[in-house]
Structures are given as C-alpha cells and as structure tokens.
Symmetry: C2
C-alpha cells in the first residue's frame, strides 16, 4: 500500500512538473506579447512594469539599466528613436523553480511589413508572487555593422 501511494505521488509530481513547464512557457509568451503591444503603443511605463523591481536591462550601445525607472527611461529612448513593429519569438524556455531562462529571436518590421532589423536575446525571468516578470534582459542585432 505504501508503495502504491509512493508511485501515485511520483506520478502526480511528474504530471505537475510537465504542466508547470508548459504553464511557464505560456506565461512567458503572454509576457512577450504584452511587451510588443506596449512598445507598439509607445508606452515605456507599461514595458518597464513587465520587469521585476530589481530588474536589469543590458542594452546594446548603452550601459546596464538597473530598476524600473532606469528601464522605462531606456525604452522611452528606444521608442523615441523609432523602435516599433517588434516581434519576439521564444526558441527555448527552461524553468528552474522560480527562475526561467528564455532564448529567443526578435524582429522589427517597418510600415510596409518588411523586416528592418533582427537579432537574438536571452531573458532570465523570475516568478514574483505568482507573476512571471523579466529580471535580466540582453539582446543584440544580427545585422553586421556597416563597413568602415
């Protein structure tokens, strides 16, 4: 009887793990969708609100932005510089308890729908009080720099 109970608990735990990994990916993909929507409506405060309170953004061409205020400022700058039409594609999501790593690619499309730039990113997500939020975020462009 004890063996059966142990087997049952192991199966339940196994099922819960599988479900959680799918849940985490779904939550992260929903977060990415909210991120792109906020960029498209030029709402840097809404972008920053998707990050943890102690988040860090490591942008190309600038120093590390620490905390939501600095992150909002960084994205305001990007939006003012013309960033829009952003899509994020999660290639891999790996949950580890309250942390999850995401490897993905991004693309930026112009008004005519053509891709004007694309690149890669890694985000370390944290579950804060039941909500998955971006905690560490780095990206770059795959476009080769202009020849000098």
């Amino acid at each position: 009887m004890r063996r059966r109970a142990t087997l049952f608990l192991a199966l339940v735990a196994g099922a819960a793990t599988v479900s959680t990994a799918e849940d985490v990916r779904a939550a992260i993909e929903a977060g990415n969708k909210a991120f792109c929507a906020a960029v498209d409506r030029r709402d840097a405060a809404a972008v920053a609100a998707l990050y943890t309170s102690t988040a860090q953004v490591l942008p190309p061409g600038g120093e590390i932005a620490r905390g939501r205020e600095a992150i909002q400022k960084a994205f305001q700058g990007a939006i003012d510089a013309g960033v829009k039409g952003l899509t994020l594609t999660a290639l891999e999501v790996e949950p580890h308890g309250d942390t999850a790593t995401e490897v993905g690619t991004w693309a930026m499309k112009g008004p005519d729908g053509a891709t004007v730039d694309h690149g890669s990113y890694i985000v370390i997500w944290k579950n804060e009080g039941g909500q998955w939020r971006l905690h560490r975020d780095i990206w770059n462009s795959s476009t080769p720099p202009p020849a000098r």
Copy 2:
C-alpha cells in the same frame, strides 16, 4: 534521536548547498579565465572546447552559431578581426541544479592597456559530466554606434 538525525541532515544539506553555489561560481570564473587565455593565444578550438556539444553562441552582427564547429569558426573570425586582451567579470552567478546563469561584463584592452571596447553578457552554463561548460552565450557592446 530521529529529530536530531533530521536536524543534522538538514544542516549538512544546508552546508552542501552553500558550498555548491561557491563551487559553481569558482568553476565559472575558472572557465572565464580559460576562455580569455584561449582568445589571447588565438586558439579558437580551445575556446569552442569550453562550450557544451549542443551549445549556441548568439553574437552581435551575425546569426546564431550552433555546435562547437560553428562556434570555433565564429571565434576564429573574431580573433582574425583583432579580438584580444579580453577580460570577463562575473557580476552574478545563480546555480539551479545542473544549470547556472551568469550575468557579466567584458572589456577588451589594446596593447597600451587602454579599454578599446566594453559591454555586457549573459551565459547559461550546464554541468556536463561534472564539468561546467558554456551552453548559451550572448553579448553586446555598450559603446554607442557612430552617428550617421
């Protein structure tokens, strides 16, 4: 007696956890040192050997390099383009079982010791058969692009 044994085991487990986090950081810092040494002696094969067999490098200015052969080629290109005098500084290392995330900064120094470029990176490390290896690796430069 059972309670004492449980307490003892909890203390041992706690001590083991602390020791492991320090061990992981030490292993990753040793990996970074080996990485910079291999770049300095222009040994792209030795750089690639520090990665897992299924690693991915997400470089700025290029597409994702998958697997050691592609990674070696990418670093050969970087070394041929003049990358040397590299230092890596781990700002944060967070182990999660066989995975660890690292957030850090890099700097490249010229022959006169002056920093010629610097930036940030995130590496997802995996412990493969007792050896910590780079598994996912992305970086960018903090230097603003030249005005157009």
